[in-house]
């Protein structure tokens, strides 16, 4: 059906999108690569020449590199574990018959639509503030000393904030997946005397495997680059400096562009490793 003519029309219709994205990808990437091999300090002498792989070596050997890696892993890992486990539990719960199901669903997914700067600040001030925050009042009510959340328990606090934002996403996707499960299969299992736990383990969980994979991969991509939540809460202090935040500070705050660009290249490589797996899962769906 697709004639020579329609093929060339199709190509023309695709051209703007392809050209724009190609430019968006290639121009900045080339520049980042270019800068990463230079000693480039815009505020302190500008372009100071080629330095080979110096920036790459210095970025990983700086004292803030490994802590940043650890912080990144804790945030990504912590949020993934919490959102996936609670997400499964919530999805199972929301799938049960109940009164006001629609409203419950709306309340549960609401945090996803709160802009990151708002949720960061609301948690920081209204809940985690050690003097006037909600938690401080709650702790005092029970006679306990309020916790200095963002300074003394900075990582758990951050993981909590980000999990609150992403739990709705995991729940919604897992719920969609559960609802696509063939109920006859479940009923058959029930008839055969399978207990709830057995039904969950042998029927529901395998059915969810693909959705869980998608949740993990997509969240990993987004979590690797969370920024605003840290920016407005701790600004990278108290051991909350992730790789993304470290690169941001190198590039814009200390204006060491060469070093930051080398970091950027590392971040791109890291994201690509995750992306390869995600693309494989998504690609499978295209063939179906």
């Amino acid at each position: 059906m697709a004639t020579q003519h329609s093929q060339s029309v199709a190509r023309m219709m695709m051209a703007p999108a392809v050209i724009l994205l190609l430019g968006w990808m290639l121009v900045p990437l080339t520049m980042t690569l270019f800068f990463s091999f230079k000693k480039y300090l815009p505020l302190r002498g500008g372009d100071l020449g080629w330095v080979g792989f110096d920036n790459y070596v210095r970025f990983v050997s700086s004292s803030s590199f490994w802590p940043a890696v650890a912080t990144t892993l804790i945030i990504v890992g912590g949020v993934l574990v919490i959102t996936v486990l609670l997400g499964i539990a919530l999805a199972l719960l929301l799938d049960q018959p109940m009164w006001g199901q629609g409203v419950v669903r709306i309340l549960v997914i609401a945090p996803f639509f709160v802009m990151p700067t708002v949720s960061g600040l609301v948690w920081k001030n209204m809940f985690m503030d050690p003097v006037n925050g909600f938690f401080a009042h709650l702790w005092r009510f029970f006679g306990a000393e309020p916790i200095q959340w963002l300074s003394h328990a900075s990582m758990p606090s951050l993981v909590m904030i980000v999990s609150w934002q992403w739990l709705p996403f995991a729940t919604l996707i897992l719920l969609t997946a559960i609802q696509s499960l063939d109920t006859e299969q479940l009923e058959a299992a029930e008839m055969d005397g399978a207990r709830p736990l057995g039904r969950f383990w042998f029927i529901i969980l395998p059915h969810l495997a693909r959705a869980i994979t998608v949740v993990i991969l997509i969240q990993t991509i987004f979590l690797l680059s969370i920024f605003a939540e840290i920016f407005v809460t701790t600004a990278g202090a108290f051991g909350t400096k992730t790789l993304t935040y470290l690169i941001f500070q190198r590039v814009l705050e200390s204006q060491n562009v060469g070093l930051g660009s080398a970091g950027g290249v590392y971040a791109i490589i890291l994201a690509n490793i995750v992306a390869v797996f995600l693309l494989r899962v998504v690609g499978k769906n295209l063939d179906a």
């Binding site: 990437l29 018959p97 419950v104 945090p111 639509f113 700067t117 609301v122 609150w164 998608v214 693309l279």
Partner: protein, 276 residues
Amino acid sequence: MARATTIRQKTITTIIAWTVAMVIFFPILWIVVLSFKSEGDAISTPMRVLTSAWTFDSYAVVQDRSDYFKHFFNSVIVAVGSTLLGILVAVPAAWSMAFVPSQRTRGILMWMLSTKMLPAVGVLYPIYLLFIELGLLDSRTGLVIVLMLINLPIIVWMLYTYFREIPAEILEAARMDGAGMRAELLYVLTPMAIPGIASTMLLNIILAWNEAFWTLNLTAAKAAPLTAFIASYSSPEGLFYAKLSAASVMAIAPILVMGWFSQKQLVRGLTFGAVK
């Protein structure tokens, strides 16, 4: 289908589910409450907060002191503008990929998706530099362009999955009846495509409204949308709970409402069709 559930079971589920939902929703509920209190009451104990007088003052003050609606307007322009521009570029692309697929279609789609995964921080400086050179720093035009580009892959993908669901036989039938290319587009495809386009726009307005990396790094006082404006409260100003709450409520309310209408599209759009 109908599995027998007793009233008791249903009651228990309802109670648990509502409790959990309220815990998750509580932070949002709480800032709504705080936004209607005076600054003095807003920092007192939760019991006092609930029993103290209600007032609209914070909403008025936020506008007077910080030109709130300028930033609100920036958000609207940036979110809607980038979405419209994206749709304009993406519709032809998605249409041709869905109806005139070639061997390369799959590869192009996957490649587009991969550009979405490029970490923003990796290209922060180049974009920053280009913005300075082109005079786009702290301009709405610049933000519209960047947000259009970062969301373009999602727009193309969503439209593609919607367009692919339009049965090709309908086109053939229209052709048999002598419909030309133009009639085919106008009377057959457009009506069927509009719901998909509308859903795609809805989700992308939400994503653009909440985007908080480029908006924070590429704007200052002039073009700052709400994401960046609210971030200015991270300074000691944040201690004004009632005002921060009022500003936050106004910033999230419109998008919350849109979000509730777009639950289904959210799943499709953010999983690139992998979960439906």
